[in-house]
Each structure stands twice: as structure tokens, then as C-alpha cells.
Symmetry: C2
Subunit: 321 residues, 2 copies
């Protein structure tokens, strides 16, 4: 039997993943309320918003207001996401409220890179050097590396494991060249190609080359395997996961099939806690947040434990009886 | 890394699990059409209906008509479920169309046994002897054993692994005493207490005592772990699963939280095929069945791959491009 980790660290991305995709306008106050509630569950990392063009992503037009509105809480990192220098500069404007770490990012799919960024692989490598320079000029350390489409790609098909291992090495080398140290490497299952088996192969191959590099899994649930993939990650000793409360970001009933959200935070918390893995999160408080999130978006969200409930109450009934 | 099995055998229970729980009246012809479509996907086992009191389960009032209506297909076992002698006798009336195997069943939770059958554990043991006698009188062989609430129980809490191992031994001994041979043992996660870890512990403990006994997992998805639990089973070499197309039987949005369905057939087929495990099932045909099932019940069903789609088309695009 595999050795599961003793603790995990969850990056809650529900507010960012979720509100960028919802078609209905959600009141800024409701977004702030959700962030504040999440911050009281024991979660230590909450991604609040993304600094993107509001014309492209109307749901993020109030990003600055949301960030100005939430209540900071000691021990909780609140973060934002940016995709370019302009977004980074907006984030810097909230340095007093946000934890701002530099992140490097390579695509494992050339076809997706071409389509999304109109770049070829050599160009994305040089762009990372420019990114480091941008961070250093602002006095921001590079902390996170991320590989997009690490498990497969709708535009390219299967992604060879060796390619992902090579890109991880590239990011580590680029950071080192500039005196920076990446302290964890994210693997993005951007288009939901991962299976438990693929997770194990990719994580295993990276581990072989970089045994001490902490890995993070960013898993989408489009094909229902998010939680199984997370379990495979846990079996490989992965301790960091991007997750979304209630499975925010996914609306499996709206027809945008490619858009299913991250693995659901409370489902993962439930699984971990029941297997003896500490999350630091109060499951009942998190379930309340999930139900609140559903109220805000006004349609069912895909989380399961928010409906099925945890098991503690049954054990308590038994003890009381 | 674990050795996954090369093939799996799926018992499709969607028509039975699903239609017994739906509140709206579903036309008999639609049920028959779903069974016929499922029979053309490559599935080798389809549970069509249960022979229960129509006053208690109105959705099964047309069980006999559904069974008379479907089109038998060589290589496909069509089965029914019964819970008592009267139900068994009704099933016998369809001997020309149904595969009728005897099944023994013990509850791992005394509290649930008391509540559901008003029996104590010693009584359920003697009842198995009577069951064997009933089967033998009808010339039916005992093939399947089943442990209900093998992973935990809402009315009793955690179920000790040793108890489940003991009950498996009891069923094998009872069958042997009567000259019968149980050819697979089902483990029911009746109230969705299983985690991947618990699946491994229970399966591992049974394996230690009965290394050659094929095991079957009957997993409910109430807490979102169905597919992760199935993966844990696969890692332990389990090759048989009860599943439900589209996740039929579960309506996570109707508020009956305890009622989530079996692990979704096409999601499990997708995971298996992508990991190189043969299911014998055509995923695209199965996805069509899942969509048809959703049309029949008139509300969203929880399956994911029916919305997200498989991956074959992306690989084909790539080859064509």
C-alpha cells in the first residue's frame, strides 16, 4: 500500500475560477462575502480574482473592488492571477492585501501555445527570462512554476511524459540562472486529459529527476476523474492541490462542456480527512461556503459532499446513542 | 506502481437503480428502449428491473412489462433483482429471458440489519440457509455473495474490517455446506462511506484470506468518491463493478442526498479504457445511452463524460490534420 502524505495544502481557486465563467452578473458584495467565509474555514490560500481585460472576462470587471473589499486574515494568503505585465501591475497595486509571488509558466502543447499565445516553444522559453526580469524589477520573488496541458491537449493529443520532465527542468534552470528558486511546480490538467495512471507516470518521472521538488496538481473535472486523479497524486506523495469550493467554475449543465471546474475543495477535504490526511480545514464550514456559492451563482454546482454531507454526524449520533 | 487488471466486467444497473427512484412516471416503452440500446454497447450484463411491491416502489410497477419487452441479445445477461421469495418467483416466471442466479447477502451493520429487516445477526445467517434451499428447490445455482454496508453505515458508524472478512467467510461456508460455490463476492458501499484507503484495506484483508475469490464493488457516489474508490479497487486487482449509466439512481439536485446513484458507467469505462483496461464497451455508444437516459428522466444526471466527451475524437483530428 502506498504511503499517503500526512498533510496537504490547498489553494482555493473557487472565487477566481468560478466568477470568471459565470454568465450572470454576481454582486460584488456576494463575492466578497464568499471570500471572507472561505477565509474562516481554515484554508490558507485563496485566489480572489484575476486581473484580466473586463471586456474579455466581464465577471472579473470588479476584481479591484473585490480585493479592496475582503477582510484580511492572519495566516491566510490571498492571491490574484495575472496573464501579462498590465495584469501584474494591477496586482502590485494591492500589495498591502495580496500575497504576490512570481510564477513562470510553460505550455506542454505546442499547438495550444500557438493557439493561445501565438508563440512557438523557443519563444515561450525566452519569455520566461523576461518574466523573471519583470518580477525582479518589482522586487517580487519567483516562487511557482507551472506546466500547462501537462497530461494532454485537445489540440495536440497525448503529451509525452519526457516533454513535461524537460519543461520542468527548463523552468528550474531559468529560475536558477537568475538567482531565483522555484519552491513548487504545478502540473495543469488544463483540458482534463489526466487519468490516475497518467498522473502517476508524469509525477513519477519528474520525481525521478527532481526528488525534492514539491509538486502541485491543478485538476479539472470535465471527465469526472478529478478526485481519482487527486487520489493518484496523494498516492505519489503530492501535497499541494488547486481546488474550487463546490466545484465552482464548472457548470456541467450549461452545455459548455470544456469548462468544468477544478476538483471540488470540500470533496477533496472529505476524502483526505477520512483517510487521515490533515487539511487544516473545517469540513462543515466549507460545506456552508459551498452552499453559499451555489446561492450566489443561482444554479447547481457539481460538488457532492455539499449534498451528501460528511460522516462526522453519524459517528456523533452513535457516540451519543 | 500497482498492476492494474487487463479487463473489467461491468454489471450495468442503471435501469434498475434509476427507475426505482425517479418520482415522475417514465413510459414503459422508454425503459425498454434504454435497455435495448444498452445491450448494443458491448455491456455483457444489464439489470433490467426489480421485483418489488409496486406500492412501495411505483417506478417498478411495470417490471414484468419491461422484461417482456426488451430484445434478448446473445452474449448479454439480463437480470432482475428480488428481495424475497415472492420477488424470486416473479423472476422465475421470466426464466426464458433473464439470467437467474442465486445470491446470498449479509449486512455488515447490525443497526442497519435491525432497521431494514428487523433481524439480529444470528438470524441473517440462518436466513441464508433458507435462501439456498429456496434456490435449490427451483434448480437455481448460488453464484453471488454480497456484503451490505461493507465500508460503514449511517446507523452504526465505521464497520470493522475483520467483521467484513468474517462475513465473507460465513457466506462461503454456508454455500459450501450446501454444495454450492459462490463465484464472486460483492462489497456494497450502501451508504457511501468508502474511501480509496478503506477500499484497499477491506479488499486487501479479504484477499489475504481468500486470494482466489473474485470481488465486485458496488459503489455509490453520494460523497463524490465513487470513481476514486473504483480506481482504488482496480489498483487492488478488482475486476467487477456494479455501475449505472449516466449515474442513474442519483439526482444530486433533488435534495434526497442519500440517494446518489452507483458510480457512472461511462465515466468508469472512460477511465479504464484510457488506462489500457479493456471494458468491451463502445464509449460513444454508451454516451449516447447516457444522454437518452437523461431525456427519459427529464432532469440532469450526474455523469461527467456524457458532457465532457471522450478523447478519441481529439486523437483522430490530430491524425487527420
Amino acid at each position: 500500500m502506498s504511503a499517503l502524505p500526512g498533510t496537504v495544502y490547498l489553494n482555493e481557486e473557487g472565487p477566481r475560477e468560478g466568477f470568471q465563467i459565470e454568465s450572470a452578473a454576481i454582486p460584488t458584495a456576494a463575492k466578497i462575502e464568499l471570500v471572507d467565509r472561505l477565509a474562516r474555514t481554515g484554508l490558507r490560500h485563496i485566489q480572489v480574482a484575476s486581473f484580466v481585460n473586463p471586456k474579455a472576462v466581464p465577471g472579473m470587471a470588479d476584481a479591484d473592488a473585490v480585493i479592496r473589499g475582503f477582510t484580511p486574515r492572519p495566516g491566510v494568503h490571498f492571491t490574484g492571477l495575472w496573464l501579462n505585465q498590465r495584469g501584474f501591475e494591477r496586482a502590485l497595486g494591492h500589495r498591502d492585501r495580496l500575497t504576490i509571488d512570481g510564477s513562470l509558466n510553460l505550455y506542454a502543447s505546442a499547438a495550444f501555445l500557438k493557439r493561445n499565445q501565438n508563440r512557438v516553444p523557443a519563444q515561450q522559453l525566452s519569455a520566461q527570462h523576461e518574466l523573471v526580469a519583470m518580477y525582479q524589477a518589482a522586487g517580487v520573488s519567483v516562487r511557482r512554476g507551472f506546466i500547462t496541458a501537462a497530461f494532454g491537449c485537445n489540440f495536440e493529443g497525448d503529451v509525452p511524459v519526457e516533454r513535461v520532465v524537460g519543461l520542468v527542468g527548463d523552468l528550474l534552470a531559468i529560475a536558477a540562472e537568475h538567482g531565483e528558486t522555484i519552491d513548487h511546480m504545478g502540473l495543469g490538467d488544463t483540458m482534463a486529459w489526466a487519468t490516475p495512471d497518467r498522473v502517476k507516470r508524469v509525477v513519477g518521472a519528474i520525481r525521478e529527476k527532481h526528488p525534492d521538488l514539491p509538486l502541485l496538481l491543478h485538476l479539472h473535472d470535465t471527465r469526472g476523474l478529478g478526485i481519482a486523479n487527486a487520489y493518484a497524486g496523494l498516492e505519489m506523495g503530492v501535497r499541494m492541490f488547486d481546488t474550487a469550493v463546490a466545484g465552482l467554475g464548472g457548470c456541467p449543465f450549461a452545455g459548455h462542456a470544456g469548462a468544468a471546474g477544478n476538483v471540488c475543495t470540500e470533496d477533496l477535504v472529505f476524502m483526505c480527512e477520512e483517510m487521515g490526511i490533515e487539511t487544516g480545514v473545517d469540513l462543515d464550514a466549507l460545506i456552508d461556503c459551498a452552499k453559499f456559492a451555489e446561492t450566489i451563482v443561482g444554479h447547481p454546482l457539481p460538488g457532492a459532499v455539499m449534498r451528501g454531507g460528511g460522516l462526522r454526524r453519524f459517528r456523533e449520533i452513535r457516540r451519543a446513542g
